[in-house]
């Protein structure tokens, strides 16, 4: 069905790429078997910290809570001032201004979830209004959700055009497109949605909102990374990746970094092209870093909550 808005015309991938689920499982199981110890572990953990989108996305978030989160983003650990700062803080749109105030003068980005997050059930018009508003308020990154209903209806054009329209509304802000893989049921769908999002203009593709189980899994992440690789070969454009939700331990984070390194190579080992969406991960990484420094296993009791 042709769309009337010519400016939003996008090129859909020529064909659908089927995914071998058994092969993906097999490949994924290998990533957790790499031995990363001592100084290489510390280096990887610091990299993971710099890739972190410190997140609070509760319906009951208050400005004070966001201020506290931003403070944590700026001062991860008083005893280790040499640590890198996190990639971004990720908040609901109405709280962008609060975050902006606290993070002024730092290089920490502000990411806002948009487009009727987490359901995406709203008219395109209101989605564009809120996106423009959040960018005007100071968001550096916009995390949008795709219309899963339209996707399952088979109306891929709608999904693609919507992403393109939101991308346009973002202006200079980076656009992350959340596929909500926990609702897409099959890896084939994950691959298809990834291709649609990238061709429609996404700067990043992101697994989940964190509101649906399962959230990020190594399997869907690998499928998305492979989609990014194929897109890079086809167009020369580097698209970023953000697994979000369900990554709570430093060990898991290391497994993801191994997967990233072995699928996309070193060029992607930067916060510009890879992010973790997580709230508990930061403290677990900090606990591991302190453990490496002191030799004693750590307790969450001695780390600030946010």
């Amino acid at each position: 069905m042709p769309r009337n808005n010519a400016a939003l015309a996008v090129t859909l991938p020529p064909q659908f790429v089927p995914i071998d689920e058994v092969g993906i499982d097999e490949r994924v199981s290998r990533f957790s078997k790499r031995s990363i110890k001592k100084s290489s572990k510390v280096q990887a953990l610091k990299l993971a910290l710099s890739m972190l989108d410190l997140t609070t996305l509760s319906a009951h978030d208050t400005p004070e809570r966001v201020r506290q989160l931003c403070h944590k983003a700026k001062n991860l650990l008083e005893t280790m001032p040499e640590l890198p700062h996190v990639g971004a803080v990720c908040v609901y749109g109405p709280l962008v201004k609060v975050a902006k105030e606290v993070l002024k003068g730092t290089k920490i980005h502000i990411a806002a979830v948009s487009t009727a997050f987490p359901s995406g059930m709203a008219p395109l018009k209101t989605k564009l209004i809120e996106t423009r508003q959040f960018v005007a308020d100071g968001a550096d990154e916009i995390d949008m959700v795709i219309s899963r209903g339209k996707f399952f209806e088979g109306d891929y054009d709608y999904v693609a055009d919507e992403i393109a329209a939101v991308k346009e509304a973002c202006g200079k802000a980076h656009l992350k497109v959340i596929l909500e893989t926990g609702e897409l049921n099959t890896l084939d769908n994950v691959r298809r949605a990834s291709d649609i999002a990238m061709h429609a203009g996404a700067d990043f593709i992101k697994t989940s909102t964190g509101k649906v189980q399962p959230a990020a899994t190594p399997q869907v992440t690998l499928v998305m990374l492979e989609a990014i690789r194929d897109f890079y070969y086809a167009t020369g454009k580097k698209i970023g990746m953000k697994p979000a939700g369900g990554i709570a331990t430093a060990k898991q984070a290391l497994h993801y970094l191994v997967m990233l390194r072995e699928t996309l190579g070193e060029a992607w080992l930067t916060p510009d092209l890879f992010r973790f969406g997580a709230s508990k991960l930061a403290n677990d990484i900090l606990m591991q870093l302190v453990k490496e420094q002191t030799g004693a296993y750590q307790s969450i009791d001695y780390f600030s909550m946010e």
Binding site: G295, A296, Y297, Q298, S299, I300, D301, Y302
Partner: protein
């Protein structure tokens, strides 16, 4: 088939039946007990246990610091649920442990004998172990009344002190008493609402591991009691330095070890209990004051007459 042939076949069958009588021995693999499961040591190490006359008895897991770390994670996870149960229910579960132990007395007596106890010593130790569990089952919902108090104060406050479990307790069980000693340190800590990680006797580990099978069938929630085997020398420092451990009970009288325990435990101000008396059959080993050793006193000042 001729008559002679048939006869030969019958003889053959008899031979085979006789051979079946001399079965190959089926030996138990003595494994660790962590989070309600029986894993092998992550280090894949074990040590050989031999009887007095040099016969090989069993290969026992040589637990590593990472096994200890995993056990502390399990104990921490189990702690709020266990501490939150009614004291009465904790008593019921301790009593259930005694019942299960009673039903397997023969097995425990045999294992104690295998490791050098005489028949009557083994019988006495097993019977006392059952009785000791029942003793602490009884105290589980009574020690609070005995040790809590309403305090006279000069201001207009209602002032009262009550007991709370310390948290995750790491126990170094006595070396010389494989079953009774173990139960004498585990039961009071658990009756008081703590979750525990215990290192069993290195030279007498069989009864400790078989005791974990008793725990497994006693309605005890996973992770409340975790049992490790291994060497004290290797694990002592980690038991004492782990920041997520709140209390440490040390049984023994090695001055150097006690010094290490006290130094390392100071880092997070662990409650340290040193048990130097090694007569586990003595009267004083069975006392509500042993429960008190892993309790914290909380005092509340409640304003009155306002």
């Amino acid at each position: 088939m001729s008559k002679a042939e048939r006869k030969a076949e019958v003889v053959d069958l008899k031979d085979r039946a006789a051979a079946r009588q001399e079965r190959l021995p089926v030996l138990k693999t003595y494994k660790l007990f962590i989070d309600g499961k029986f894993p092998r040591s992550e280090s894949e190490r074990y040590y050989a246990l031999t009887s007095a006359n040099g016969e090989s008895i069993a290969n026992v897991q040589l637990g590593s610091r990472k096994d200890f770390r995993n056990a502390v994670v399990a104990a921490r996870k189990a702690f709020p649920g266990w501490a939150g149960r009614t004291a009465y229910n904790r008593g019921q579960i301790l009593y259930r442990m005694a019942e299960m132990l009673e039903g397997r007395r023969a097995q425990f007596i045999e294992e104690l004998e295998t490791l050098g106890a005489s028949r009557s010593e083994a019988e006495t130790e097993t019977a006392m172990a059952v009785d000791r569990l029942i003793y602490y089952a009884g105290w589980a919902d009574k020690f609070q009344q005995v040790f809590s108090s309403v305090n006279p104060v000069a201001s207009s406050h209602f002032n009262f002190s009550m007991l709370e479990p310390t948290g995750v307790a790491a126990l170094l069980a006595p070396e010389d008493s494989g079953l009774l000693g173990l139960i004498s340190v585990v039961a009071p800590a658990v009756a008081g609402g703590n979750s525990v990680v215990v290192l069993a006797s290195h030279s007498k580990p069989l009864a400790a591991i078989t005791f974990s099978e008793v725990l497994h069938t006693s309605d005890l929630p996973a992770g409340v009691i975790n049992i490790l085997t291994g060497t004290r020398k290797e694990l002592l420092k980690h038991f004492a330095s782990h920041m997520d451990v709140n209390a440490l009970v040390y049984c023994g009288s090695d001055a150097e070890e006690i010094r290490t325990v006290q130094l390392e435990a100071a880092e997070n101000l662990k409650r340290v209990v040193i048990e130097e008396n090694s007569d586990w059959q003595s009267e004083e080993r069975q006392s509500p004051y042993t429960i008190l050793a892993t309790q914290e006193v909380k005092t509340t000042w409640h304003p009155i007459g306002l």
